[in-house]
Symmetry: C2
Subunit: 144 residues, 2 copies
């Protein structure tokens, strides 16, 4: 923790404390900075990154978005949109809708995969040898 002189005293934290406050790793934070999702406003004399409480909130926002599997590019867009308070939010809705669709597609793909894997698993009589293993035989046959 560092306090600096200015018209108002501000509590600044170093990257390790920011990581603890948000549950992000130190490397992620530096990564987000490189990707322009998070700015480092200030550096200490020894070149350490210093953050204020607004940055803590921004990073929590990013983390929340990541927990929903939004990409860094999408989060960057949301941040930019957030800075245009007067605009309509259709782009936000579209992004979420498209995300929901992607996830639904992926779930279907995985469900198909699951069915195939179960069928494959059933092709082996449990106590078998490699030579007679139904799984390996099935895998050797060209599908469809």
């Amino acid at each position: 923790m560092v306090t600096i002189e200015s018209s108002i005293k501000v509590r600044l934290v170093k990257i390790g404390e920011l990581a603890k406050l948000t549950g992000c790793s130190v490397q992620s934070i530096r990564h987000y900075e490189k990707e322009k999702l998070l700015a480092t406003l200030r550096r200490s004399d020894g070149n350490f990154r210093l953050y204020d409480s607004a940055t803590v909130d921004q990073l929590k926002f990013i983390k929340h978005c990541r927990s929903l599997d939004l990409s860094l590019a999408e989060i960057r867009q949301l941040i930019a949109l957030n800075q245009q308070p007067g605009m309509g939010c259709e782009d936000v809705n579209r992004m979420v809708d498209s995300h929901i669709e992607q996830v639904a597609l992926r779930i279907n793909e995985l469900q198909d995969l699951q069915d195939k894997l179960m069928a494959l698993r059933n092709s082996c009589a449990s106590q078998s040898t490699v030579k007679e293993c139904g799984i390996l035989q099935t895998l050797s046959v060209t599908q469809k």
Copy 2:
């Protein structure tokens, strides 16, 4: 297509035809070779890779495994096992079981994610401004 003299005549194909025969890309094939999943038995005088029909089958096996989302490392294991015909196939079963489990886990994760995304989507009254967008507000609030 190339035919060579030997005790038996063998039909050999170059990488482009192997790709067509199996539906794999040329780069994938070279990648599998680098990863030791597929050997190139022969080269032409001009250093082109030449493959026989056994290799076509091996590549089809690999492709079948990949369509089930087995990793290259796992496929490498299966190939090694295949060369021990007398051994029991428990390892094969274990691999498939563990795969099924992973996929089930991932499906559950995605289902949770889907629920969260739907809830998020519902927090926006469609014709809103960025400033009042329920989605952006929700994302700004620390979760849990």
